[in-house]
């Protein structure tokens, strides 16, 4: 079985992508996936060449054929998303609000409403140093980021099966649909947090979700030296709920420098890179047979 590890955080901006890019560098032969399809950043620090890009239609949108429509309003009466509106007695669909459920198509006496596929994003497959890299970009203000994430996961899993490699996933902030799609079927989750009240609040919520889906979870505290007291508190609270904190990453200007040079922080070096290297050694030792481990 291919081993899949997802990096999540709850709160945004805690350092998921920095850690995931460093893991890509340390893992050697590995399939990477960026599941933060709404604001993807991994491609900015993972040198790669895009092999293919294709449109993904993850949703539908209802359209009314004006010639057939008798403006009876039946569609409006069943739409629960407020997507049907009438102007001067003529009915139309607000495509930005339409969820593509098709309820309107079942009640239209004229069969004037049809569902058309809607492009919700672009799916990309790229070649990085250690293997292929699956990523995507959600269309602006589109619905269905979760479905696009599932596509990225399937692309990565297919490549992983074909090559016998494992998958490292850079996740999105939050704990809802996108994160659930990102962690489903993973063997482990690393939650990267920061030593702040917000960081802990959001970490606890995402850990409740990983626990709900019974996925093994580890925690790393990034920029821990901003508040050693809060770091200790997070470590204590994680211990109370049986979640292991696998490391502390110090605040380090080399992280910003690596980002500016479009490289994983491990290529620049420094105390943060050293800490991430130790975390990778720890996590990959959990599953020595499944996780490929280069010299670290």
């Amino acid at each position: 079985m291919n081993y899949q590890l997802a990096v999540v955080s709850g709160k945004g901006g805690t350092g998921k992508t920095t850690v995931a890019a460093a893991f890509a560098d340390l893992a050697g032969a590995v399939v990477m996936a960026d599941c933060d399809v709404e604001a993807p950043n991994l491609h900015l620090v993972l040198p790669h060449e895009t092999l293919q890009a294709r449109d993904f239609s993850g949703n539908h949108v209802a359209t009314i054929e004006r010639d057939a429509c008798i403006d009876c309003g039946a569609c409006e009466s069943v739409c629960r998303f407020g997507a049907v509106h009438s102007q001067d007695g003529e009915y139309g669909i607000d495509s930005a609000t339409c969820e593509g459920c098709g309820a309107c198509t079942y009640v239209c006496p004229q069969d004037a409403v049809t569902l058309e596929p809607l492009r919700t994003g672009t799916l990309m497959l790229s070649q990085a140093a250690g293997g292929v890299f699956a990523h995507a970009e959600l269309a602006l203000a589109a619905d269905g980021s979760g479905k696009l994430v599932t596509q990225v996961r399937q692309l990565a899993s297919g490549e992983a099966r074909a090559s016998g490699r494992n998958v490292i996933i850079d996740g999105a902030p939050g704990m809802g649909c996108v994160v659930i799609s990102t962690i489903t079927g993973c063997q482990a989750v690393l939650a990267v947090t920061e030593p702040t009240q917000s960081g802990w609040h959001d970490l606890e919520r995402v850990l409740n979700v990983t626990e709900h889906f019974r996925i093994a979870s580890f925690v790393a505290v990034n920029k821990w030296d901003i508040s050693p007291e809060m770091t200790e508190e997070i470590e204590r609270r994680c211990a109370e709920r049986g979640v292991r904190v696998v490391g502390r990453i110090p605040w380090d200007p080399a992280v910003a420098e690596a980002m500016a040079r479009q490289l994983p922080v491990t290529r620049v070096g420094g105390p943060a890179a050293d800490a991430i290297r130790a975390i990778w050694a720890d996590i990959s030792a959990q599953r020595p047979r499944q996780l490929p481990l280069k010299e670290v």
Binding site: S9, K11, G12, G13, T14, T17, E38, A39, N41, L44, V45, H60, V78, R80, F81, A96, E99, G100, C101, G102, A103, Y106, L138, L140, A141, A142, D143, S145, G146, A172, P173, G174, M175, G176, C177, V178, V179, I180, E194, P195, T196, Q197, S198, G199, H201, D202, R205, N208, V209, H212, F213, K223, I226, S227, M230, W251, A256, M259, A260, Q262
Partner: protein
Amino acid sequence: MRLAILSGKGGTGKTTVAVNLAVAFASARATVYADYDVEEPNGFIFLQPQIVSTRVVTSTYPVIGEECEPCGVCSAACTSHALAEVGGRVLVFPEICHGCGTCTLACPRGAIREKARPIGELRSGTARDGLACSEGILREGETLATTVIQRLREFAERDAGRGAQGSIVIADCPPGSSCEVMHAAEGSDLALLVAEPTAFGLHDLGLAVRLARHLELPAAIFVNKDDGSGFIDRYATQAGLPIVGRLPFDLEIARVTARGALLMDDRRYADTFIELAAAVSGLAGRSRTA
């Protein structure tokens, strides 16, 4: 007046700016702070409002009645894949159901009824200077953030327009660029984009700018963790967007916000938000009369 605080990238300081700006406004005018980041709402950590009201947000899901003679029509009609016909039975997966009701319309035997289930909660209360605060919270394991956001908009802002002349709503939006952000931001008078001067920050600021334009919102930028590099300034000039405020890169600021304290309570930083309040009022006022 309604202000949407956006960023694209997570962790750039949306909530830091939103809560301190709300406090800066509240001493002078009727102010509503609403936390639309329903997956990870953090505003109440800083504002500590006295909670006066809570409401459960529900969504519906189908219940298959005894009249059902499995024919496959409902599972084919469900675009969320929340229904499946397996072994001569219809299985329902409530947690992925969007509550659209299409299956009830599609069933030829009228065998499907609906039940409500809780997917989140809305909370509201009052913080200092009468600052009205609301937040939405998505239940852990649930996926319908958009529904919670839409209910929060009705709950938090229903009375805002009827309040005192010159009242203001500060909408602390979720990160990202999806329809969730759209539902939280649309119809605002100004999008205040909180950006940080990093490669990731600049990339995602571009997304936030595109989203603001898509929603036809006037936009202005707040530079957070400003390192003096001029990185965001150059972009702002090119994009023709004003910079209405900035906080320096300072580990001391990180320590203040880390413990959940307000920068408005620190005389070193309070002026930043008082000046920001004046700047955004001017911009939003102009966009309203335009």
